[in-house]
Amino acid sequence: MTILISFVTIVMLILLVMAGVGVGGWRVLFGTVIPYAAIATFLLGFIYRVTLWARSPVPFRIPTTCGQQKSLDWIKPSRLDNPHTGLGVVGRMALEVLFFRSLFRNTRSEVREGPRLVYSADKWLWAAGLAFHWSFLIIFLRHFKYFAEPIPAWLLTIEHLDGFFQVGLPVVLATDLIIVAALTFLFLRRVVDPRLRYISLVADHFALFLLLGVALSGVYMRYFAKTDITRVKELATGLLSFQPVVPDGIGLVFFVHLFLVSVLLAYFPFSKLMHMAGIFLSPCRNMANNNRARRHINPWNYPVKVHTYEEYEDEFRDVMKAAELPVEKD
């Protein structure tokens, strides 16, 4: 059901843009107005969300430690998994953001007859996740050649590397294949694994379908239904230099691609996709485990009702004296 709702939504979005541009001829709407609105929503939404997070303080220092603490000189601390300095935290976060350190630990547990528990390493999620995210980043950077004029040379290096094997014409870019494969895997595990199927919400499938839609429409445009990309770049740079133009000669497939990207941009700040920023702010990961060495300040720390020693002694003075325990007042 969740899959169906997400799928139908994406199909409707595609039909909408096809009807809008193909039949209605609303090229300016889909080529200029919606992209602008989407970019603005993305930027403002992103800022709003991060500001919202930043406004809530971190009252306590609560890192999740995954290795030996720094204590006695002769015990080797685990500097990355249990960092006690800011530098260590940077290292831990870098491992987390760039290589998905925590997902790499993933195991699968099974209760067999007996009962007997069996654990096995399970790196598939890690591998697919990493493949998707890195491909997405590279593809995203590759696209800057359509946004920047003249194209900085380093941008082209990325594409050269991506098309290293020089198969086909236009050259097949490895990330195009990887991103589609990874997204397909991530979708299938939500369908095949009963636990995943159970926890998946419409939003989970929607995000995957949307990304697949973007990727596939791009792939279709690059390798199959080609369009005049000179005009596409004219449109793209026009948008980004605030001199919007919608030249003739751009195929429908491009408008589908652009519209799905616009939807993605506008959806991003209000969805779980914000984990992109959230990962940096997770107090369990981004704090050093130096709790007892340096005092952490809670900005809203307030006085609470406590039971003082005096009250305690007042209640128990007699029994304390009888037990020959020292007291403050006789």
């Binding site: 930043a54 971190v58 004029e149 082209l156 080609k226 000179t230 004219e234 230099s241 920023a277």
Partner: protein
């Protein structure tokens, strides 16, 4: 503890990076145009219509190469009754004589680096 300095610094860096094309185009002032191509020096019609050619010429060249090199079919009868040789150097470049002002304009604009010229000779008036 809020770490707001670090958060807003990070946010600012992210925003600058993600809006990089805007600043870049602002600095170069070159955005929002498409390159002008030099008109063909001779001939009325191309081998296909220009809309097709601008999007798909690489497919046609690829197809021609296969037909010529693998099958030995050097000539093609066009719908207007003329016959052309399937040749980049002898047919395409015959009309679009200036690689700099024709091929390279778009290829440069889009960062495309086709490997045609790994084998084919660049026509006469051009000094490599």
């Amino acid at each position: 503890m809020r770490d707001n300095g670090k958060i807003y610094l990070g946010l600012t860096i992210f925003l600058i990076l993600i809006t990089f094309p805007i600043w870049y185009n602002l600095a170069t002032g070159k955005a929002g145009y498409a390159p002008e191509l030099e008109k063909a020096v001779k001939g009325e019609d191309c081998v296909r219509d220009s809309a097709y050619m601008s999007a798909n010429h690489m497919d046609l060249l690829n197809e021609w190469r296969d037909q010529v090199v693998r099958d030995g079919e050097r000539f093609e009868l066009l719908s207007n009754g003329t016959t052309v040789e399937r040749s980049l150097s002898n047919t395409c470049l015959d009309c679009h004589a200036n690689k700099d002002k024709f091929c390279d304009r778009c290829h440069g604009f889009l960062g495309v680096d086709p490997y045609c010229w790994d084998c084919h000779v660049i026509p006469g008036d051009h000094t490599p």
